[in-house]
Amino acid sequence: MSFFKKNQANDCTDVSQVIKDQHDGNRGVELIMNEDGEMVAVPSSQVNQMDGIKATEIAKKDYYSY
């Protein structure tokens, strides 16, 4: 995926894939909502160096159906 080739990715497809990967057990990439409100996928090794809401834990909460 493209975010493995760059430090951050923000395309909606990249973001969607990160959420799916998190549910599937891939912890290599995390989601951050930065101060501009942008949702970005970053390598886990860089998460602690970034400001913003760590959205991964919230994203991993299951959505319910109906």
Partner: protein, 140 residues
């Protein structure tokens, strides 16, 4: 909602979002969310029973949201993670009743809505339903 809880909610929301983005009262949270593609959505969260029950979350603009084929998202749909809409507004799923507890704060709900919107835009782009990416709690 108590005054103390309202203050806590405001504080936490203001840490995650600009105060210019939202308006919070004891009954309603209205917030404008911009996705990564720079599209802006307006979201209303009904707080009548907050924090003791799962709040209803509506997209009030665009009204209604439409799927990739142009159909209004006003029906309950498992693949699209929506509930039956009200007043022409799309209602989206977020936390389930068994996951909900009074310790869940509104900023967490809004972050889930923000994620829902990204996956919704991915649906418009690719055609994949939202449940391909957003896992579903086992309850109904």
């Amino acid at each position: 909602m108590t005054e103390e809880r309202l203050k806590d909610e405001f504080y936490l929301l203001s840490q995650a979002f600009s105060v210019k983005q939202f308006k919070l009262t004891s009954n309603t949270l209205t917030i404008a969310l911009q996705t990564n593609s720079k599209k802006i959505y307006t979201v209303r969260i009904d707080l009548a029973e907050h924090p003791y029950a799962v709040p209803k979350v509506f997209i009030t603009s665009p009204k209604p949201l439409c799927d990739r084929l142009g159909n209004a998202l006003l029906n309950a749909s498992h693949p699209m993670h929506t509930l039956t809409g009200e007043n022409g507004c799309t209602r989206i799923c977020h936390y389930g009743p068994s996951q909900w507890h009074p310790g869940v704060y509104l900023y967490q709900v809004v972050v889930k809505v923000r994620i829902w919107l990204e996956v919704y835009e991915n649906h418009l782009k690719t055609g994949y339903p939202l449940d391909k990416y957003l896992s579903t709690a086992p309850e109904r």
